[in-house]
Amino acid sequence: MHNFITYYLGSGFWGSLVSSVLPLVYIMPYALVTMWLELKISAHMQDRLGPMRTGKWHGWAQPLADVTKLLQKEDIIPTAADKVLYLLAPALVFVGSYAAYAAIPFSPAYIGSDINLGIFYIVAVSALVVLGILMAGWSSNNKWSLLGAMRTAAQLVSYEIPSSLAILAVVMVVGSFNLNDVCAAQSGWFWNWFVFGKFPFLFITFIIYFIASLAETNRAPFDIPEAESELVAGYHTEYSGMRFAFFYLAEYANMFVVAAVASVLFFGGWNSPFGAYLSGPVWGAFWLISKGMVLVFIQIWLRWTLPRFRVDQLMYLSWKILTPFALINIFAVGLWVVLRG
């Protein structure tokens, strides 16, 4: 039973529909909570309080208020914009992030689509985001947006290589692209997780993957596509209201995708850290989300600590440091897998 919904509803129309909408039920509250967390975490790191009034208790309703405001705002389309592309772009960006949820094994009993090439699918479908951002930047007919879009395209395409190579190392160890298989291969206590269990090879892999994934989600220190102090807001300079909210939501959704993939590949996914204790379908979801949230927290933490790279330094890091390292790493892992039999 890999998907309890299709198990009960069948894999017909209703089963598929409920299955595909279910991640949305998760993303919305997740995004709101993460937005609030980011506000509060950044505030406390910066010696201030952050929102305190909205909703009485530590400003818990601030993201709700923000989203409500965004929804009410006027949806401005620049006169000179390429309307079709302009309207389509935010949707495509969100679709790219959202579609990845289909292959994330939330628990032993739930994976949207239990396909053999799960991780491959995630990498492929995430690439849609590039297209969306390019469309947004180009169609806005704004020079800042265009620069932001060009930067994004260059950045995402470059960083897909080290991140894919890192993923490949795990796939070589497991011998499967299916993420459920990857999780199953790490069952048992937490020292069986790849990041500890296959030390140091997969630990290095994890570092490579995590750095590359930061770049793929456009988070600091790799947030140069939207670098607010340079490019005003990069590719979404001209967007407002609902459409801006889509970019925002897609960013948070994407943050969790890479965090979830990292926790599946390296931290045992839905496995409990304590062997058979506290494991099961519901606990599985709990563990995956907790692990993902820890990684999301680290992303937030880095964002509020580090300055931003420059475009050429970013490319340098990808092509001259991460990619060679990932290649050497893959070779080492391959050798190790072969020698161990």
Binding site: S229, L306, P307
Partner: protein, 372 residues
């Protein structure tokens, strides 16, 4: 590939842009992301200071000086009142000079904190910005207890001060110094020596010393290029000659001499020196009346004076011509931001747009100052 032609694009940076530190507009000619040429356009904040000054009497000009470089109002006033006093040829009580120095140095720290914090922001580090503003807030509180204002003080008057120091000021200032010393170290750990920050600012916007002098750059801009030149030391005014402190110059520690990092670091280290000056001044503060020498009506003799002083941004000069009347015949402000900003095209060609931000930030302009 030879036929592949790229076209240059004109990019308007500002006047509404997050990193132009106000209403500066820079017309960038870019080839991809490489800046081919940069033409700064100023004047969006021109408030006719010089024209106003001709129709006001000498005391009334002080609040206008406050508004020139609104991040360093105390230093602006200091230069102006020095000029008027030199024109009048009066001596102010020693206590006044001491308090002026204390205020000017506190203001220098406050101004540098803004410069450093916003520079971090330009480079993409958000957190140091808030640390800097937290500490600046304490200085503003000190000013508030002294003269009631937090930004535009009208505190230094020709011949004296508007108020004496309030009770408890010395203790509070010492408490601030005690708090602030360790935070400079914290700032260095978090930002100054951060690997990414150094990579972003070292070897960027290199300004050789001879060009800096030819452009009459001043302040951290000039010292960052290794020229040991500080008016407080080399042309001492007020009571600066009584204190023991060092002039900080850039040394090209992490890159080329005269790059953005050097200019930035001069500011950080100057704050420590300012703390030293304040400490000494507080310990040796003489007693006396701070309003004794304030003239009721100012009628300087016919003549003129060019007075200059070291503000956080560099050499602020006032050229005041008196025709013997109650109002000056002409007041010219030689603004450090104005002169330093004219260097921008010289040091920004050939760098990337992202470097452009780093360069503008490292000049530390205040548009109120450059536009007047």
């Amino acid at each position: 590939m030879a036929e592949l032609r790229t076209e240059e694009m004109v990019l308007n940076m500002g006047p509404q842009h997050p990193s132009t530190h106000g209403v500066l507009r820079v017309e960038l000619v870019v080839d991809g992301e490489v800046v081919v040429d940069a033409v700064p356009h100023i004047g969006y904040l021109h408030r006719c200071f010089e024209k106003h000054a001709e129709s006001l009497n000498y005391q009334q000009i002080v609040p206008y000086c406050d508004r020139m470089d609104y991040l360093a109002s105390m230093n602006n006033d200091h230069a102006y009142v020095l000029g008027v006093e030199r024109l009048l040829n009066i001596q102010v009580p020693e206590r006044v000079e001491y308090i002026r120095v204390i205020m000017a140095e506190l203001q220098r720290i406050a101004s540098h904190l803004v410069a450093i914090g916003t520079y971090g922001l330009d480079i993409g580090a958000f957190t140091p910005f808030l640390y800097c503003f937290r500490d600046r807030e304490m200085i503003l509180d000190l000013f508030e207890t002294t003269c009631g204002a937090r930004l535009l003080y009208n505190y230094m008057w020709p011949g004296g001060l508007s108020h004496d120091l309030p009770p408890g000021f010395i203790e509070k200032t010492k408490a601030f110094i005690k708090h602030f010393r360790p935070t400079i170290k914290e700032l260095n750990d978090l930002l100054s020596f951060n690997e990414i920050f150094v990579k972003r600012t070292a070897d960027v916007g290199v300004l050789p010393a001879d060009i800096a002098v030819n452009y009459a750059a001043s302040g951290p801009m000039l010292r960052g290029s290794g020229v040991k030149w500080d008016l407080r030391k080399d042309e001492p005014y007020s009571v600066y000659h009584k204190f023991d402190w060092d002039v900080i110059v850039g040394a090209g520690e992490v890159g080329t001499l005269g790059d953005c990092w050097d200019r930035y670091m001069v500011r950080v280290r100057e704050m420590e020196q300012s703390l030293r000056i304040i400490e000494q001044a507080l310990d040796t503060l003489p007693e006396g009346d701070v309003q004794a020498a304030i003239p009721k009506r100012i009628r300087p003799p016919v003549g003129e004076v060019y007075v200059r002083s070291e503000t956080p941004r560099g050499e602020l000069g006032y050229y005041i011509i008196s025709d013997g009347g109650q109002k000056p015949f002409r007041v010219k402000g030689r603004a450090p931001s104005f002169v330093n900003l004219s260097l921008l095209p010289e040091i920004s060609r050939g760098y990337l747009i992202a470097d452009m931000i780093a360069i503008i930030g490292s000049i530390d302009i205040v548009l109120g100052d450059s536009d007047r």
